[in-house]
Homo-oligomer: 219 residues x 2
DNA sequence: GGCCGCAGAATATGATCAAATTATTTCCTG
DNA sequence: CAGGAAATAATTTGATCATATTCTGCGGCC
């Protein structure tokens, strides 16, 4: 039989499935509350059930999916308390990463971030919601990478997984306009090596983003 | 065939395996750097390999085990940078949980914590390393539970999983004596509802604990 | 020292069994 | 006789296992 590994540069199937699902969650292909079945994924992705099960376990462990007790898996629905917790955690961690990034990143790192941010602006300009979500995540992922703190980055990635689907809903309601953007301030701080300013701008960015989710919950 | 579920109150096998492994990691039955093989666990726990695989994926996702790339799994070995990151994350999160616990916990919650802390002291008195690790974790787990913040608690539990094996090594070197104890200050703060004091004492407790791990790395 | 084959371990599949939800039927009641 | 609730049957989904396949690492051989 043809091995799926040919598809994705030698990665094991469970890893491919994991990444595929992760992207689906991060970029809103799955709606909050939507049930996720193993057999459905087996048919949709045309792989065996073992890799699917492993990918799902992993995503559940990261909080990207929730196990409903009666052995049923769904995309998490955030309530106000969850958003508050996520905000607290993000505010506690992401400014720290921005601080470290400002201390460590060289010119080439900042340049790459500028490029990503430009693509982000382009996506906003076109009203491309998925593009916005992708590039926005990419921006933060690259910044976290610059910080050189793998454990903290892992934690933050897990947080993003938790609010990804809800973020998509927000963008579906409000579109990509009216997105106040702290990225420019972050970039300036990074280029001037101003760690405190980077942290401060990141905290604002985080709070603004979570504010939108919180507001969408009410409406 | 006899279903293993009978062993553990209706829990699925992969859940049982997960908890077993988690406790082994948290309480030092596995040493840092030690390789973990699937087949070894299959024989040791007398279960099929599917549940073992799922439990391992989950633990890897939580950072409790590391996937060495060449499809080999080991217990993580912490370096100085990892300890620094873990300290940063714990200091950022656990005092917040203590704060919330102080605001929410009633008399009965504080009493339960007192009881756990008493068992902890008893274990220290006997020089019972495993007992110390178990009760110390229990103390913090109960406190986090009191905070009523499931997401933050999840994150912190994941952090504990990462330094569990190394903590055991520390205790193996230094024994259970000379463990400066902020727990009494935390308990007092909880009982008087002093959130700020609870957070401060927790930060000290965290820093002291991580300091010990950090010191053991050098020696 | 590099290459080839062998052993062992991990990955992936399909089959099988168990559980839960859904649909259906039946029986009771108004 | 009609409507609804409870029980039951059927389908769908999840959990586990046994087995085949692939890959990695090691040791001998050229």
């Amino acid at each position: 039989m043809v091995n799926m590994r040919a598809d994705s540069a030698g990665l094991p199937t469970h890893e491919v499935v994991y990444r595929r699902l992760r992207d689906m969650i991060l970029f809103g292909e799955l709606a909050p509350g939507q049930p996720v079945t193993i057999q459905g994924l087996v048919e949709r992705l045309e792989v065996g059930m073992t890799p699917v099960r492993e990918a799902l376990r992993r995503l559940i462990a990261e909080g990207a999916l929730v196990f409903q007790g009666n052995r049923r898996i769904t995309v998490p629905v955030l309530d106000a308390a969850a958003v508050e917790e996520l905000t607290l955690a993000r505010v506690a961690l992401e400014p720290q990463l921005a601080r470290r990034a400002a201390e460590r990143c060289g010119a080439e790192g900042a340049a790459r971030l500028r490029a990503t941010d430009a693509r982000l602006d382009a996506a906003i300009g076109k009203g491309d919601v998925t593009g916005y979500l992708v590039e926005n995540h990419q921006f933060h992922a690259e910044l976290n990478d610059l910080a050189g703190a793998p454990i903290l980055t892992d934690l933050v990635e897990g947080l993003w997984l938790r609010f990804g689907p809800s973020l998509r809903v927000v963008c579906g309601q409000f579109g990509t306009r009216n997105l106040p953007d702290q990225h420019k301030a972050i970039l300036d701080a990074l280029e001037s090596g101003n760690a405190a300013a980077a942290a401060e701008a990141m905290e604002k960015d985080v709070r603004q983003g979570m504010e939108q989710i919180s507001a969408a919950l009410e409406g």
